[in-house]
Structures are given as structure tokens and as C-alpha cells.
């Protein structure tokens, strides 16, 4: 009996986690893929590892450290690129490795054994707490409300920032706000997929969706569906096969993308032949 209760909790945690991860990754992922901010988001992800290290060292929750670190680095990069004082990709490259370096140094300096380090790098459902799931749930609600209320404002600023500046004084505010929410999305999903893999959780689903549609709102919905399919399936496979969950999810998502892309390729060839 005890085993089945444990199993039940495990599955509920996994499915809820998969649902919230999919909602947040779908919304944030569509934004970063459409705006070609994937490299920037990768930088934010790895910079947050510095926050994890400092969190360990200072004895605070590493997720809080990562959240602060990633938001600050995201705003820093946006600020620098708005000012156009620095090459954006170079800045990201620097920040990327700098964050990792800080993380490694502080974890090394932390006395004693740091058991969860691997779970932060590669993700682990075993160490995901209900607190983590609740945090992801709250973020899902915040993102849904934010993107629904300000849909057109966000869409138009992302599409043509200069034109948006001709009518709105709030362009920078919205850019900073959206980027901060994306940084938070990345950090909270690190618990599921890990620092190394989380960026794919955000970028593969929109790319699956874009095979079917080129309309932003539909890409969001389809990405969430694709992400849920990938994370839920990946989660179950990892559970029964006893392999790491983050890697399994990413592996499953890439397989889904390849299959869909392949089918689409064959169908579009058939269409051309029929013309």
C-alpha cells in the first residue's frame, strides 16, 4: 500500500509539473523563438547557475538565488542592448560562462557535501517539491493573465519595436517586464529540466507548432500542447525506465519534432507533385 501511495504522489507531482512547465514554457518559448532571443535566454539560464552557487554558499534557497541572478542578468543585457553600447552576443557569451564560473566557485567553497548539484545541472523529478510545483503554478497564472491582457501590445512591440515607439511610451517597460518573466520561467523550470537542458524545453515546442501555423496566438496554444505531450511522456518514460527526467523530456520532444517535420516534409512534396 505504501508503495502505491508513493507512486500516486509521484504521478500527480509529475503530471502537474508537466502541465505548469508546458504552460510557462509555451508562452515564454513562443516569445523568445519569435523574437530570436534563444541565445540570450541560454545566457540567462547559465548565468542563473551563479545564483544557485551563491544560494548554496549563503544557505538560502538556491532557486531564490537563481531567480535574482537571472532577472538581473536579463535586465542587464536588455539595458545594454537598448543603449547599444555593446555587442549583444559578446555580452551574452561573457555572462554565460561568468555565471557558471561563479556557481562552481561558490559550490566549491561551500563546506560539506552538495547533494543536489546534479539535479540543478540536469534536472530531477525526485528533488522537485510540491513547493516548486506551486511556484510554477502561480507563474503559469501570472503569465496567462499577462499575455492575455497585453497580447497586442506585446505582439506589436516584438514584431516592430521602432514602430511601437512611435505610439507608445511603454516599449522599454514591457520589454523589461516580459524579459523578467521569461527569466523566472527559465529558473522555475530548471528544477524539471536542469540548467543544461531547460532552453530546449522552451524552444522545441514552438518549433513543432510553427510547422502547423504561423499565427502567434496559435503557436502559443500548440506549443503548450506539444510541450505537455513531450514532458508528460518523457516523465513517464523516465520513471519506468529509471533514466534522468530532464534528458528524457528533451529527447522525447526532439523525437516529436523530427517525426512531425518528416511527415510535413513528405506531405508538402506530395502537394507540390499534385500541382
Amino acid at each position: 500500500m505504501e508503495g502505491s501511495i508513493f507512486q500516486y504522489e509521484f504521478i500527480v507531482k509529475g503530471l502537474l509539473g508537466a502541465l505548469f512547465a508546458s504552460i510557462t514554457a509555451g508562452l515564454a518559448g513562443t516569445y523568445i523563438v519569435s523574437k530570436r532571443m534563444v541565445f540570450l535566454s541560454g545566457g540567462i539560464t547559465h548565468a542563473s547557475f551563479g545564483g544557485i552557487g551563491i544560494g548554496y554558499f549563503a544557505g538560502i534557497n538556491p532557486v531564490v538565488g537563481a531567480a535574482i541572478f537571472s532577472i538581473l542578468s536579463a535586465l542587464g543585457i536588455e539595458y545594454l542592448s537598448v543603449r547599444q553600447k555593446i555587442r549583444e552576443d559578446s555580452a551574452i557569451g561573457m555572462l554565460w560562462a561568468f555565471g557558471m564560473a561563479i556557481g562552481i566557485i561558490f559550490i566549491y567553497l561551500t563546506p560539506g557535501y552538495t547533494p543536489n548539484l546534479m539535479s540543478y545541472l540536469f534536472g530531477s523529478i525526485l528533488t522537485v517539491t510540491f513547493g516548486d510545483i506551486i511556484a510554477l503554478g502561480i507563474l503559469s497564472v501570472v503569465l496567462i493573465v499577462y499575455f492575455t491582457l497585453f497580447y497586442r501590445t506585446i505582439l506589436y512591440i516584438s514584431f516592430d519595436e521602432q514602430f511601437a515607439r512611435t505610439y507608445s511610451p511603454f516599449v522599454n517597460l514591457f520589454k523589461y517586464l516580459t524579459t523578467s518573466l521569461i527569466a523566472l520561467t527559465i529558473v522555475l523550470n530548471i528544477r524539471m529540466a536542469g540548467v543544461v537542458l531547460v532552453i530546449s524545453l522552451l524552444t522545441i515546442p514552438p518549433n513543432i507548432a510553427m510547422i502547423f501555423t504561423k499565427v502567434y496566438s496559435r503557436i502559443v496554444l500548440l506549443s503548450i500542447a506539444a510541450a505537455f505531450l513531450g514532458t508528460a511522456a518523457g516523465y513517464l518514460i523516465s520513471y519506468f525506465a529509471g533514466i534522468p527526467v530532464g534528458a528524457t523530456i528533451i529527447f522525447t520532444l526532439v523525437i516529436i519534432w523530427s517525426v512531425v517535420k518528416g511527415i510535413d516534409h513528405i506531405f508538402s512534396k506530395v502537394k507540390v507533385r499534385h500541382r
Partner: protein, 248 residues
Amino acid sequence: MSDCLLEMFSLSVAYGDNIALHDVDLKICNNDFIGVIGPNGGGKTTLLKVILGLVKPFKGELIFNQQLLGKTKIGYLPQISTGDNNFPVTVKDVVLSGLMMQKGVISGMSFQDKKRATQVIEELGISELSDSPLSELSGGQLQRVFLGRAVIGDPKLLLLDEPGNFVDANFENDFYEKLKGLNRRMAIMMVSHDVGTISAHIKSFACVNRHLHYHPSSEITNEELTSYGCPIQLITHGEVPHTVLKKH
């Protein structure tokens, strides 16, 4: 400035140490159709940007007649490359974005707005593309979409930046006819390097080469251009009847 939309007095703009516009005076009034010409890097686009509030002058004054300009204020057709044309957004959504200056940041377009967009798209002759993503459009089609975005809000002033660049041959006549029609309702200021083509459609010239010289007629000679410090090659259009350039 009773019937003038905006007026600028000794306006100067600089990027760092580079002075782009120096002591510019200009008035734009109802039903004006001003062609802005001048060499590349002479400050033509900067002139548009300062009116749009995209760059700030370091000296001088820019006064808008808010009463005449109304809610939509200014329609703007940028050079085609400002947005990302592979962005997943449809033709209709782009045209609707021209209404954003009347809206707050909270999204939502009414049924009326969407009907208006459909109408504008139809007038531009691209109805069948209404729900297509921008990535599937040709240069000329894109230009029509952006013209739609600029005029959907019925602005009192329309700014066009090098519209001729991407207009395909069979839309060109249509395009200038359309502008003529729009000019009955709104003042137009059009940046172009092709003096020959625009001179048939405009009412006055502004030569911009760091300084601005206003020329209150659509006829202009090479000598006048040189004296304005506006060294551009006049493009002769041979026997094409719409050319109103004087012999030179």
C-alpha cells in the same frame, strides 16, 4: 498656426558629436504634400524620426497642433526593414497595429476595428492575403500592408520613408493615385531619393542636407538644388509625360 499641424523652429539633432540636422525651420499644414529630398546621410530620415519622437532634438522647438492632429496623430510608413518580416504575425494584425495609438496597452480590438481593417486591406487590393503571415508576402505586398497600417487610424499627417523602394511596377501608379486621394484628407510628407518620380505628385519640396531649404513649388531645377546645397542627380525621365522637371 491656425491650420498648420506642426511647426519646428531652429531644430537641431545630433547623434553623439555628429550633427544630423542644424537649425531647421519647417511648417506642415493641412493638405500639404511635401517631398523631402537630399543626399544619403543628409538627415531625411532623421527629420521624420524627430517628428515621430524617435529621436530628441538637442536644440529648438517642435510644436504640434494637438487639436488638429487628434487621437491618431501621425501615420508612418517606415523603410521596409524596421520590423522582422519573418515574425509570426498576420497581415490583418499588422494593419490593426496602426490603431494602437488610439488604444491603451490593454489589448482588444472591437468588431468595428476589425471591419475597418478588412476594408483598408480590400482598398489596397490584398484581401486574399488578409490572414496570411507576413513571411509569405513579396516586397510590394509588404509595402501595401505597411501603408494600410499607416492610414487605418485616419491620421492628419502621413510620413513616408522611401516608399518607392519596394513598390512593384504595377502597384506604383496605384500607389501614387492612392496617396493623391489620401492627400485630400491628410497632409503628406514623403522622403525620396527619386526626385523625378515624386515631383509629379507633390506640391512642394524640402531639401535636407543637414540644413533644410523649403521650396514652395513642385518644380525645381538643378541650379536651385545646387544653391540649396542639395547635390542630387536629377533623374531624367525622358519623354515620360508626368515629369514636370524644367529642362536643365
